[in-house]
Subunit: 231 residues, 2 copies
Amino acid sequence: MSPNHPPSSLAPGADGQAVSGVGAAIAATRAPRGQARAALIAAAHSMVRKQGYAATTVDQICAAAGVTKGAFFHHFASKEALAVAAAEAWTERARPMFEMPPHTQLGDPLARLLGHIDFRFAMLDGPVEEFTCFVGTMVQEAFATSEPIRAACEASIAAYCAALVPDIAAAIDVYDAPEDVTALGLAQHIQAVLQGSFILAKTTNDPAIARESVTHLKRYIRMLFAPPGAP
Amino acid sequence: MSPNHPPSSLAPGADGQAVSGVGAAIAATRAPRGQARAALIAAAHSMVRKQGYAATTVDQICAAAGVTKGAFFHHFASKEALAVAAAEAWTERARPMFEMPPHTQLGDPLARLLGHIDFRFAMLDGPVEEFTCFVGTMVQEAFATSEPIRAACEASIAAYCAALVPDIAAAIDVYDAPEDVTALGLAQHIQAVLQGSFILAKTTNDPAIARESVTHLKRYIRMLFAPPGAP
DNA sequence: GACAACATACCAACCAGTCGGTATGTAGAT
DNA sequence: ATCTACATACCGACTGGTTGGTATGTTGTC
């Protein structure tokens, strides 16, 4: 679903305690038996977000996960297979974003949509590598060289967009929007703005420039669904 | 300036003939003496856009440029130094985008701005790696691991945004826009949408999804500067 | 004791960068 | 104009360290 830093503890077990909070550091403790797979995926998430996929080595992931190479290749046939599994896990890790936050309780679909944008806006804080998107980063490097990774990233992004579609479709029904605006198309545009804002944030190593862009996105959505005749 | 595929032959000499048109292939001929540096930079542009920075090896760049490793390290102290030089060259390669196209002749600043968006829209065609952004791709991987590369990419993006500012500022003067819209902020938003649309295009390996997003961007800009009371 | 979940030791390929050497130009003196 | 002296451009074999992956041993669990 292409999320970023999911609200801590909303993805139970996804963040193996083997990965220290600061992300790229080496795991202090060894991962408990039975949690190697989850720890490896969590380590891949944080390391790839910081360094990119190709620059992140299997050894680094193992070290960050508190696991040896033997465990790695016991659970994954290759580095590429881990990447695919991590992309799928990323989708799951994002799910709570659509179920938990308060704005999901609102009755008006437009209010829910705008609430989601606010939610994403609020995420744009702290170190850049903690709010950027794992699959967005990875597909950038792998789209032409690894078809399995590309497809997994596409699925994750598509799942995020699909989760936005119902509220957008309902908003299109209730308010009047330009004819050629589709729910899926707008959902994809929202995702594009988020992904683009991550890149700008990386150029400055600061979230401020990303917040500016999401503010424009929110204004656009408000204007799209403005009651006709309102100022 | 974070362009993409600059209109062919608008960047004279930047595309060393050593690099074949298909991008990642090995150079058919050896680069003529005196053009090794330019050929290496052009090769870096095409290979990094397709594979990413870390996954692209110095040997691959040399092969694509039709040059040996000796020449590489004669011109660049390191792979990182080439990356910085290539980012600077990318800025230059984008410059014609703001000087040549017909829309730059228009009198109305908003028309010029919309013309530029159309121009970018028209670029979203063909293989993904031929319209995506070199510095956007590279900063994604290097923002946390190479400060020189990060800074060079920031400068390139900033130059692109700065080139958009005059027209946007003039449009803000002529038409009335919301108070908190700044010329630089909107320029950065335009850049964010473009970068984000590139990422979506990479997920599907198809430009269509990127065009959709740029269409939303154009509608937003038209709405922002709409004469009050117009439908 | 059998099977999954690991750990350890190891390897062949690969990678960025080095180094001694060659080819090509160029400026000044004659 | 030609020779000398030097600089720049380029070549390609080599190296030390790294990388993804393997082969085999060990430990815990039912």
